[in-house]
């Protein structure tokens, strides 16, 4: 949706019906649609919860018919750290936006950089988690838990990755001084998307990691 961000409507010529910039309405509309996307993925996870025929399982140990023993696979402390950083990044992007609106390039570049680092850490954490799970014997096709877990968190991770790419693009623009206060909407849209991705994680985290 980067494209939307920069597609200038002719609406700029005259006042819009709502007084809001069309791009802002568009990003909200897109987020509304995305809600259904994640609602469906989360529902799919819940529907398949506890229906795996074989392990490894998220919260329970499992011994395979061959006698191999599997621990509960989820690593909650690491993911909690990632969750916390993702939440903080929402604060950072607000500070970055505030910097952009005030015209403080230092605040903008600094806080935006912090946001990006948090996002990269989160994606990195997920890459580590996935690799670790595969190593432990949980692949996409192993059981319904693996399938719905990788699908749900994977698509969330993809959204975070796209968000990071979007923010890095803006960060480069900010470095070059191309986000003056008059163009802070470009960042605001990315920030709205970023908040949305965080909020989705706040639902996924308890659903997947905390509810047994």
């Amino acid at each position: 949706m980067t494209a939307v961000a920069h597609d200038v409507p002719h609406g700029l010529e005259h006042a819009t019906s709502t007084g809001l910039d069309s791009r802002k309405v568009a990003i909200w509309t897109f987020i509304g649609s995305e809600c259904m996307f994640f609602a469906t993925l989360i529902s799919n996870y819940l529907v398949n919860k506890g229906r795996s025929l074989v392990g490894p399982f998220p919260h329970d140990p499992w011994t395979s018919p061959a006698g191999e023993h599997f621990k509960p696979i989820l690593e909650i402390p690491l993911v909690t750290l990632g969750t916390a950083l993702l939440l903080f990044s929402s604060l950072f992007v607000v500070l970055a936006l505030s910097g952009a609106q005030r015209g403080s390039r230092k605040a903008l570049v600094g806080w935006l950089g912090a946001t990006i680092l948090c996002g990269i850490f989160f994606v990195g954490m997920q890459v580590y988690e996935f690799t670790h799970f595969v190593h432990e014997g949980l692949k996409l096709s192993t059981n319904l838990f693996g399938a719905s877990f990788y699908t749900l968190t994977g698509f969330h991770g993809t959204h975070v990755t796209i968000g990071v790419i979007w923010l890095i693009t803006l960060w480069i623009l900010a470095l070059r001084g191309k986000i003056p206060p008059s163009k802070s909407l470009n960042l605001e849209m990315a920030a709205l998307y970023w908040h949305f991705v965080d909020v989705v994680w706040i639902i996924i985290f308890p659903v997947v990691y905390l509810i047994k």
Binding site: L12, S22, F30
Partner: protein, 611 residues
Amino acid sequence: MATRVLDQHRAHAAAHGETSGLWSWITTVDHKRIGILYGSTAFFFFLLGGVEALLLRIQLGTPDNTFLSPERYNQLFTMHGTTMIFLAIMPLSAMFFNYMIPLLIGARDVAFPRLNAFSYWVFLLGGLFLNAGWFFGAAPDQGWFGYANLTSRQFSPGPNVDFWMFGLQILGIASLAAAVNFFVTIINLRAPGMTLMRMPMFVWMSFITQVLLLLAFPVITVALILLMFDRFFGTHFFVPSGGGDPILWQHLFWIFGHPEVYILILPAFGIISEVLPVFSRKPLFGYAAMVFSGVFIAFLGFGVWSHHMFSTAMGPIADTFFALSTMLIAVPTGVKIFNWIGTMWGGSLQFRTPMYFAVAFIAMFIIGGLSGVMHSSPPADLQQTDTYFVVAHFHYVLFGGSIFGLTAGAYYWWPKMFGRMLDERLGKIHFWLMLIGFNVTFFPMHWLGLNGMPRRVYTYPAGLGFELLNQLETVGSFLLALGFLVLLINMFQAWRRPRNAPADPWNGATLEWSIPSPPQEFNFPETPEVHGRDALWEMKRTRGPLPEPARVSGAGIHLPNPSYWPAVAALGVAAVFVGVMLLGHIGPWGIVAGVALLFFGVYRWAFEPAG
């Protein structure tokens, strides 16, 4: 900014020969041209779907027929349904969204012209992708709702289902991009004075359609992703042997699929609500009730999906809930029908071709609605579901409803879009052939269904009593086809006549009739001011008959630049899915190339220099 001042562009374009020709169509961001692209592509697919239907009808014309092989028949009925829904009715509606919404609300273009071009190109590529299976002898053959677990790799090993699955996925991207665009356009680009409750009813129904698209398509997107994982990566979401549940597919599909039905019919509701007042010379009866019944239908549309699944044994509580919610939908639908008749009541009915189709729409839609109530009752539906009774029902709704409505719209807006009038006499021949052909084709299906003919059978044995009515239906389908042949002749003749249609041939009520036919690139030389519903009637009432609007130079008007990056990005989208299809042959490199092309297109688009 990516806008341009018109006269400069004109000079530039003239120097480079860009105003017409293929390149100008590829790079166009003008909502009117994109509307015509949508319309012509969709009409082509409509004819294709129609030919597929004729082949099906020939096969069913006689018992134990071997005109088509079973696998060819299954491919044809799958592609007929998929084509008519996703490649004909939806994009024909999109043609009217594109061409008409900005004109009806007094805007210069849609909110995001390049995103609009992107939607079209993705739609075109999705349609081609879906049909590409024909060239490999592997067209989709699992039915348009693709019930699991028939679609699993075990039972559908070929690429047939893959063409369908990825084709729909691509089309979904096009629909979602367009839905965001039109949602924002209607919210944000209305002319001064056009409050929500002054919007033309077509704009209202289109608006509700966009909301349905935005909320329903993500669900099918996820369902198709899960199916892709099952087929390509060995998961078991819908595979019983791995603990998965094929009924989950049905739920996900119909949570999308039922709102989809309203996505198909609401634009037609809107068109009828424009045509009837104009040709009754009388405003729409019960405007507010029409708006709220539309909203109510859309809302209920998300709470009835399981009425497609009564035969799956959901238990009495679920059956009761979905039966009652389904019946409830009949109330706002009835309100609409009564209000349309109320619009005609006491009017001075002008029976021009669009009015013929609009009135037939009401008559046919009543039948479709009533048979819908008949199978809202689960025990009765247990006999009717998966029979020709259901086939009759949804053709009365989608053909008798959507297609009649869209045809009414085509005859109504044709002079505005092409500057030429369609012939009235040919139009009425088309109408009678279509009305009679339609009823001869589909009405007997009610009887066949109740008398035991299941749907989707490639043939039936003699002796079950199905022979006579099937033969009749086949004759009817050719009458229907003849009707569209007359339309083609009409279109061809109109194309050869000079562009001399007046700006306002029907004494129209809405803003598009205040500007020349066809409109100039910038639509309105100056933004109109709206002082009430039926904005143009309001103007005529206060100012008296309006003179024929002159074509003006439009110098100084800012318009968006043409761009080919949306088409490049669309190619990237299609390439990603081609890459997935080729995963087993060339590894992930196809996907990588597709993603790279997509990102390249999007970045060039995003950073396109100012005009």
